[in-house]
Symmetry: C2
Subunit: 221 residues, 2 copies
């Protein structure tokens, strides 16, 4: 994995921002989140679209309808796929040193279409199984029209930058005595609520383990 | 507000994706979230950076260190600022009709620097006050070096698209009898946890209302 150079940041901020340049940190962020923001260039202007993604080894994938503008226009093009989670608000003694605790991963590369039918189905199976282990086999089988109607884009994870900030405020030394509350308002990690069964299903339908035990973090090799 | 035309989506997906083209829906999304993903074009390639933002009337702002690459390189350029929240996972009887409940807002425009010293301070004051009412006056006063070290970008909210999906799965009619659990795993809305006071503060420092009663949603005019 070739990581990007740390961006040129002011000394004031650098002391509490931390680049992470190892695979483990990057994959941990990717596997603990669900939503990515994919940026691409359309007629010279940037477009940023939210989408789910999944990781398989050192590749990242995202998908949608074959008619999606984002997927049609970004296939074969350079993209930036960013995954971020806001973990807390950091309140300092000066406005300047307020900050946020967060995790973010930026992946750069050229988005390639998964073209072979069998590869597309396998990617979709893995995506579903990572989210909901055991579910793929329980679903109504995918049909040819659906395979065609789905576009999957992917790229190797080889140019990436991860950033993580944790902990409390870092104030100017002379401000520590300033009489204002300082600290962190953490956010509760993303948590599933009570599952809501579809109105049209047989009320006797058992709740499967992949719903009962659903966790946001994915078990990815 | 000039909203963008709905993107060209397949009939299969369109039935459960809903564009919202009124200001109220758009502002509601913006005011209930904190994190934006700003896309810009750097040497012809897209870059997507997460950042906090705030809304003042029909303008949107974001900020950071004046040394930030994102702020330096996107000032005066076209950007796409996207705000998204994932509200739930939608489990259908076929893989095809799995979906997510979400809210998203995409804003397009040219990012302009706030240049006047007084305007910058006023923007920062409003940003802090929207997040933490009453806090600005309690902080150590901002100094000239800090004003210079901070760059604020903004743009009018005049080209925008909002999307909201809610509700359960929409399956193919013939699949409703398929014996797999279908429904929604909702996510608990972003919630603040117990505030963590800074180690270095006087333990007698009172917890202010803007921390005790902190809510993610902002009261914005």
């Amino acid at each position: 994995m070739r990581t990007t150079a740390p961006s040129n940041r002011s000394r004031l901020r650098r002391k509490y921002e931390r680049g992470r340049y190892d695979k483990e940190s990057l994959y941990e962020i990717l596997d603990s989140c669900l939503l990515a923001h994919v940026g691409y260039v359309l007629d010279g202007a940037p477009v940023v679209t939210p989408t789910l993604y999944w990781r398989e080894g050192d590749h990242i994938y995202w998908h949608g309808s074959s008619a999606s503008r984002m997927l049609r226009k970004s296939a074969g093009c350079e993209v930036c796929l960013t995954v971020s989670e806001l973990d807390g608000l950091v309140l300092a003694r000066s406005g300047m040193h307020h900050s946020v605790n967060y995790r973010s991963a930026m992946l750069f590369g050229t988005a390639r279409k998964v073209t072979r039918r069998e590869d597309k189905i396998e990617r979709m199976r893995i995506f579903v199984e990572q989210m909901f282990p055991g579910r793929w086999e329980q679903l109504r089988e995918i049909n040819e029209q659906e395979v065609k109607a789905t576009t999957i884009l992917g790229m190797p994870i080889d140019e990436a930058a991860a950033k993580v900030r944790t902990g409390g405020p870092v104030d100017d030394e002379e401000d520590y005595g300033h009489p204002v509350w300082a600290g962190v308002i953490p956010f509760v990690p993303k948590t599933p609520g009570e599952p809501v069964p579809d109105d049209r299903q047989d009320p006797g339908t058992a709740l499967p383990d992949h719903v009962r035990n659903y966790r946001v973090a994915r078990e990815v090799s």
